[in-house]
Symmetry: C2
């Protein structure tokens, strides 16, 4: 019955042979690799404006300078990842690249950064999507935690179903988003060049009030906030395999295209915000994108299209983590750094445990940070840039060692990438430390500790189970068998029979939790005439399991060189709820005996018909 | 470790020999049997005033007439229970008396009524206690659900600890309550007779507006509301055993005393409320008792003493249900009408499961009825009066049959009791049907259904397990043994060894959830050279347990007349959290095989040292 419910919600199982991935042409592959990066446009410009506004920085100069700096950063990162795609056509995630070139430890640091990043991608994208919807519907904004959790649950169920050929379905939101944003930016440009534009209406900004030290820190913090634009750019380097041949070349073209579009949208939204004189502070019910769209398009259907498509692409971006996180976690589990059940492929060919883990963690973040994107942002960029910096540093080592054709140019590109992303990482870490980056540092340290502990356990287990030297086991003597009985009835007969068949000495015991009942059991046992004496164990505290375990321990101690077998008669009700009507002594005893050395437990069931 | 925590919270186990109850003198026994009845004074007068006020009935006439009617009812019930104590010195609860004299079915009806009553006693008393505290502290009133749940949890923990000799501890709240109320009533009397009393200040009430039909129904409903005063009066008849000899005589003296005090307090509070002109409506933050006490004593320390002692005696009253409910439930369980684990005496000599069940049910009621006593009251009186009426009817039969000395007087007393309480039950049922009495009717019907179902199951089990005719079992042949292995390592060796020792044909099988891994397992198995061929089971959907179960079913089918043994090698980690790092295949397989006929499961553990 349970399995029927499961099949209804999650679908019937898929055979393993379906695991072969489809190869996609650029327009469809683009959809899969781009949503995470493109959707950052929904919150990255907003974060820059909030950070500058909160520091009292006014005017258009600094937003423009920051936008240019971030665009440069995008170009450098795109250039660096072009080299990664070239070198790792099979897929070069930060974990793989860092591990191969910088050693295990730094590989694990990159993996920890990525895991944190994937969880945050879900939380940030979903809350930002809800914020987009909430800009039009105040009810949604007021219940943003509930709506965010609801969306995560929906995405989780979809992923547990293991949808195939998702590219076609995902194409709609991605291209809708691109179209809506290009229309919005186009309308803004027309407004700017056209006669009677609103630009004249907005007051000329006061000259910038930025001075020395504090001002520089504020600007750096605003820069760090804007760096979340780059989250998701690395996705393409993991998924070269989904491109049609020549895969590497197609992936590189797509990456360049993605970089260009990302920059265009970011600059567009920033310029429009400046043009319309939009201000943004923390805790408003309306997003920057919504304000810009409303100013440029009016509160008509186009405006709602921008909001809706923003929400959709953000949900798609969250969805990408539901593929990436379980995949990375399963690789780590297979390498022995995470619990092995995470590597299990479920019956719908998805990593069920990894998906559930990601859902639980991102829901926890959403609840703790009250569904507010702005509070999550300081945590977000850290993990991403750890991955960037380690990947590029690893690539430098790769090119230095390989010296294949064109290695010097690639080395320089990746060297520049490593230096710049490393510097940005430091900037983010310093300027946003108290804002939340410290949490990521702590979590990453804990993750590394966890990796090491788990790895140590598996190593120890492998050694303990090794067949290198044949171990000496206790003798499998069929000598002593203990049969605990709760009463004298039909269900105990096959157990006694079985005990006699496999052992030479059979000891039947009953725990006297109630003295009167024990006397009845003894009398009925003797009347049965089986010829084995019944041992009655006293139980002053009315416990049943503990006196049995103590007795069995004694028997084990008396037979130091062999296994002792305990045969448990267990009657099994026909329906699950009937278990509630019986004491679970057999189950509890089995659990307790699992931890006793040299004890083998035999379960002889007796099935009730009613 | 878990057991250490449990011992810290709930204390170390008690030996069974402690179960002997202490015999108490009247002053201490009074404390135990009176709190439930006395504490009703906290809400019964309030309910009368609310009911009359809501019907628009004004003036002093009706409150006084109702008070007199309820006092008469108390006298009749006390007189009836005096006869119960006389006839059942060993303790005559409604279930025992009704079952013995009116038959099984009516006994079960009484039991169902009592179970409902006990749950409601906890909910009503705790919410009324919180309301008392909330009269002084608005914060408590606003969070009355949370505070009520907190108190139930506290009482539950205390009862799971199984405190002995509680009479001395309980004496303080009970006598404090009596003292505070007598002082309050005394102050009111002084105010009434003294010069310049506030009585003159309150306006002379308008003549009553009660007319015909509707008015009579309103008055009857107010009467039904006031009948909750009698809840708990029957407690003494269950607990004659705690009195010092002559127990029956002492119990009867105490019952008379309790009836007198109950009447005095009820009349006192009612007269004071009339004297001070107090009005009461639903949903006020202040209770009637608080208003009366404030009017009579001023908002000084005596006023707070009244509130505090009211809260304490209500908590003590809730506590009495935590003894009565588990005791009755365990009797029902022993008689086969409730699940047997409810009859288990825990290691602190308390019925742990019964206590937890009561706590869960009363918390559910508190949450559903939003911590509001007034909403629970319509449910409360029904169960109590079912018990009253059935007990008295049973007693009539008892005296008629026994004809012992003085039977006729006793029969008349109980006959009067039966007639009056039966009539009151009808009044309550009719006037409060839509207010909540219908819920009790439904719950009681469901309980009776549950009793019958459970009883049927146990009868069927007893028959199935009976040794009257020796059953024919499948042959215990030591022929076919199946050993499922997940890999080739040390842990499988003792299992194989054991299988060889007990069987003649050993079949080793491995499920190929991953094809590549299966090939490795096969190669390593062959290298091991044990001489038994390895069967590889295909698993296109990557499930492990289901292919094994299917295979074992096949083997069972091929050997129709004997048991098939499955030997499971299981490695057991040293620490509990390490279980999370391994797939629970062995556990899941054991659970699945429990339901297979003619399959015996042998668990051969291999204990890891790290």
């Amino acid at each position: 019955m349970l399995s029927a419910v499961r099949h209804f919600v999650f679908g019937a199982p898929f055979p393993s042979s379906w695991a072969q991935a489809e190869r996609l042409a650029i327009p469809l592959a683009f959809v899969i690799v781009s949503s995470n990066a493109l959707s950052s446009v929904a919150y990255a410009p907003e974060e820059v404006f909030i950070a500058l506004g909160a520091s009292g920085v006014q005017g258009r100069l600094y937003p423009l300078l920051l936008a240019i700096a971030i665009v440069l950063l995008v170009f450098i990162v795109v250039l660096s990842y072009e080299q990664v795609v070239r070198a790792y056509p099979g897929g070069g995630g930060a974990y793989v690249v860092a591990r191969q070139n910088l050693g295990n430890s730094l590989g694990l640091v990159a993996a920890a950064g990525l895991l944190v990043d994937y969880v945050l991608t879900v939380s940030v994208s979903v809350t930002a999507g809800v914020a987009s919807l909430g800009s039009a519907l105040p009810f949604v904004y007021e219940h943003r935690v509930e709506f965010s959790v609801l969306f995560v649950v929906a995405i989780t169920v979809i992923n547990l179903r293991g949808v195939r050929e998702s590219a076609l379905i995902l194409a709609l939101p991605v291209y809708l988003f691109l179209a809506a944003f290009l229309v919005m930016i186009g309308a803004g440009v027309l407004d700017f060049v056209g006669p009677g534009g609103t630009a004249g209406a907005s007051p000329a900004p006061a000259p910038s009030a930025v001075g020395g030290g504090v001002g520089a820190f504020s600007v750096l913090r605003a820069f760090a906030a804007g760096c979340v634009l780059l989250t998701g750019l690395e996705a393409i380097s993991n998924t070269v395999g989904i491109f049609r041949p020549p895969a590497a070349r197609n992936a590189r073209v797509t990456l360049a295209l993605l970089g260009g579009l990302l920059v265009a949208l970011f600059i567009g939204v920033t310029l429009l915000a400046l043009h319309f004189g939009v201000r943004q502070t923390v805790g408003e019910g309306e997003t920057l994108v919504s304000k810009v769209a409303r100013s440029g398009l009016g509160a008509g259907s186009l405006y709602y299209l921008v909001l809706a498509s923003t929400m959709l692409i953000l949900l798609v971006a969250a969805n990408t983590s539901f593929a990436a996180f379980p995949r990375l976690a399963s690789i780590l589990a297979r390498d022995g750094y995470l619990a092995r059940p995470i590597a299990n492929l479920g019956d719908r060919l998805v990593y069920t445990n990894g998906i559930l883990l990601l859902a639980a963690l991102s829901v926890a973040l959403i609840v703790v940070f009250r569904g507010t994107t702005h509070l999550l942002i300081p945590l977000y960029a850290v993990g991403v840039f750890v991955g960037f910096a380690l990947t590029q540093a690893g690539m430098v080592v790769h090119w230095w060692k390989s010296r294949e054709r064109g290695w010097l140019g690639a080395l320089l590109a990746n060297g520049l990438g490593a230096a710049v992303t490393g510097t940005v990482l430091v900037v983010i870490g310093v300027t946003r430390f108290t804002g939340g980056a410290y949490i990521v540092a702590i979590v990453m340290a804990l993750l590394l500790g966890l990796f090491t502990t788990i790895r140590g356990h598996y190593r120890a287990v492998a050694e303990a189970l090794s067949l290198e030297q044949r171990p000496v086991f206790p003798r499998i003597a069929r000598s002593v068998v203990v049969v605990p009985i709760g009463g004298v009835h039909r269900a105990v007969l096959p157990a006694i029979e079985y005990a006699r068949a496999i052992g030479t000495t059979v000891r039947v015991v009953h725990v006297a939790a109630e003295e009167e009942a024990a006397r009845v059991v003894e009398a009925r046992w003797n009347r049965l005439g089986i010829g084995i004496p019944l041992t009655i164990l006293p139980s002053p505290y009315r416990a049943v399991v503990q006196p049995l375990v103590d007795y069995i321990r004694d028997v084990v101690r008396q037979h130091p060189e062999e296994y002792v077998t305990v045969v448990i008669p267990e009657f099994v009700p026909k329906r699950w709820w009937q278990h509630l009507l019986h004491n679970q002594t057999a189950t509890l005893l089995k659990i307790a005996l699992l931890y006793e050395r040299r004890v083998i437990v035999v379960d002889v069931p007796y099935h009730l018909e009613h």
